[in-house]
């Protein structure tokens, strides 16, 4: 048994650029799903618009590829109307945090039983590299040609503050950890949010001094800091460099959830 059979083989290869991390995240998501032993007909993938959101088109289950930013709202309807379905939302940073930000925080507040996998490439890839709400300070994009001057969103902090039951962050380098995180998200009743930082060689890396795909993956690896280490450093009152981001399981709790299988 392998997760390969969750792919629509007739649709591969997919449209992603060479080196794009989205394919890795789909692999990890499907590998986690495979371990849940869910039936394909009981699983529904929902997505919005963007690079990441093309993913459900390559997955063999029922899938809904919707309008920009509204994936979670559509998924809410699917899940509430039939709580027996397992609903997974695949989304991107622009889709989730910019145009769909309100739907995101309200789904966290409702704590509806969805698993949201956000492929955060810190840029709008599909439209050619415009700055997104998660573009780090100083990074170049076609709409921030002199460096991004806006402070980015921390999507995980947002989800925790809004009330999600399970929140974790990994990168496209940490494939095994990401797989386990998605698995934990699928198992958790209530809203689960998994942020996966991915490389975007075409739109982000090219403008931000990552000449090779591997350079950006290496950056993701070397600038990620485990939550345990972060907590220890904070305890000891030591300095945490500003360009580091926290990875790991950031929240797991048991708030009352909506739409859990009857």
């Amino acid at each position: 048994m392998s997760y390969e059979e969750w792919y629509r083989q007739d649709r591969l290869p997919h449209i992603y650029c060479a080196g794009c991390g989205n394919g890795t995240i789909i692999n990890c998501t499907l590998a986690a799903l495979e371990q849940m032993a869910w039936k394909k007909e009981d699983t529904v993938f929902v997505s919005g618009i963007g690079c990441s959101s093309r993913a459900p088109g390559y997955i063999v289950t029922d899938s809904l590829h919707t309008t920009h930013g509204r994936a979670i709202a559509f998924a809410t309807g699917v899940k509430l109307a039939n709580p027996d379905l397992h609903v997974v939302v695949i989304t991107g940073d622009g889709d989730l945090a910019a145009i769909g930000g309100n739907h995101f925080i309200h789904a966290c507040r409702r704590n509806i039983d969805l698993t949201v996998v956000c492929m955060n490439n810190q840029i709008y890839g599909m439209t050619g590299g415009q700055g997104s709400p998660t573009t780090p300070l100083g990074c170049l994009s076609t709409t921030t040609p002199y460096g991004c001057v806006e402070t980015p969103f921390d999507l995980c902090d947002l989800a925790i503050a809004a009330g999600a039951n399970y929140v974790s962050r990994w990168t496209s380098y940490h494939v095994k950890e990401l797989e386990k995180a998605v698995l934990a998200g699928l198992q958790t009743p209530g809203f689960s949010f998994i942020e996966a930082l991915v490389q975007c060689p075409t739109a982000f890396g090219r403008r931000n001094k990552f000449k090779q795909v591997a350079d950006q993956v290496e950056y993701l690896r070397s600038h990620s800091m485990l939550k345990a280490k972060r907590d220890r450093l904070l305890e000891q009152g030591e300095h945490i460099p500003g360009d580091m981001f926290v990875v790991g399981e950031l929240e797991r709790r048991n708030r009352p959830a909506l739409g859990v299988k009857r």
Partner: protein, 366 residues
């Protein structure tokens, strides 16, 4: 046993939906449609249905479309500003052929306008509001009884043609209290299921493909992108896009006769009123006060697709008078289909036409 009630139009709409088997309501409060949501919030949980108040109208229509794909009969209710917000997802529903019912209790616009007063300013928006070419069905009730009956019919039309169906009521009808006769049961036409093994977006002879419900093992990919008969995106094929959009329009336009619902009164008259929604009531008063057969009346319950052959049934008509609570949105549509003058009688501000105003118009153009 039928029973008689004294209900508000909005209540009748919600009850009509429940009778038609509506089991999902996603909404957002907006005057003057809120009573529908309130009534659904009370009744749906008792009928094993789902009521959810979403964070905005965009999410409301999105949740309705999502619920519809699980096989539930789903609806939302809103008014002008919320209707404008819904437009993108209405286009999505048209493109993906999702059955859903959208109730618009119209109020004065543009913008926030007159929240507590009626208008009919969204008639063109419901037809052409979303980008691109598509076709929809719009029904216009003029009484509390019709709020009930047309809501129930809207669900059947939506399921039959797999299209968003609008109930374009207005504040006047929505907030009016009237006697209503509730039938024992309402006809429910089930959704045609997709035959296993056939392509999910391959149309049958009626141009409507079978419905591949989520959770039944169809493994269907539903996308708002231009898609082929397998449902896979194929956005750069000009021929495919043309075929798809032509079919989406044709399936509704070619069923014009089946969808059409209108009354013809005094077909031999020379002066003919055409009305839908609240202004129907003023015309009825005029007809009541002036019995005889010299005033014709074409009373529309279906506005989109427009029954373009209906005005032609008034063989002696010398002119058509169209009282509307907007600046002549449907009058312009009628002009396209008739050879005699069409006189628009607009009225803005939230008040109905008075019978004397219509009589004055009859005199002025005689």
């Amino acid at each position: 046993m039928t029973r008689t009630e004294f209900w508000q139009g909005n209540t009748a709409c919600a009850e009509g939906a429940l009778a038609a088997g509506c089991r999902f309501f996603g909404g957002y409060p907006i005057t003057p449609s809120t009573e529908i949501a309130e009534h659904m919030a009370v009744k749906l949980p008792k009928k094993n249905g789902v009521f959810i108040q979403m964070e905005d109208e965009i999410a409301s229509i999105a949740s309705v479309i999502g619920a519809s794909w699980t096989g539930a009969r789903a609806m939302t209710a809103t008014s002008g500003p919320g209707f404008s917000l819904m437009m993108e997802n209405i286009g999505f529903a048209a493109m993906t052929e999702t059955p859903c019912v959208i109730v618009n209790i119209q109020r004065g616009g543009p913008s926030t306008g007159q929240p507590t007063l009626g208008a009919q300013g969204d008639m063109m928006q419901c037809r052409f509001g979303s980008h691109g070419d598509y076709a929809v069905i719009a029904l216009c009730p003029a009484s509390v009884q019709e709020m009930y009956e047309l809501t129930a019919r809207a669900f059947n039309l939506a399921d039959k043609y797999r299209v968003p169906v609008f109930l374009m009521a207005d504040e006047v009808v929505g907030h009016m209290r009237e006697k209503i006769i509730i039938p024992d049961s309402v006809e429910q036409v089930p959704r045609k299921a997709l035959v296993k093994g056939t392509l999910p977006f391959k149309p049958d002879s009626d141009l409507v493909p079978g419905f591949p419900q989520f959770g039944k093992g169809y493994g269907v990919h539903v996308t708002g992108l231009t898609h082929d008969e397998r449902g896979y995106p194929c956005a750069t094929n000009p021929k495919l896009h043309e075929t798809l959009v032509m079919r989406l329009v044709d399936k509704i336009e070619s069923a014009r006769h089946e969808i059409a619902d209108y009354d013809i009164i005094n077909p031999g008259a020379e002066q003919v009123f055409i009305a839908y929604g609240a202004p129907v009531r003023t015309v009825q008063q005029v007809m009541h006060d002036h019995p005889g057969d010299n005033i014709g009346f074409l009373r529309l319950r279906t506005v989109w697709p427009f029954p373009e052959y209906a005005p032609g049934e008034f063989k002696n008509a010398r002119r058509f008078l169209v009282p509307e609570m907007n600046l002549g949105q449907i009058a312009r549509e009628i002009e396209r289909h008739v050879r005699v003058p069409v006189i628009s009688l607009p009225k803005l501000g939230g008040e109905l036409h008075t019978p004397s105003e219509l009589l004055a118009a009859l005199e002025a153009y005689r």
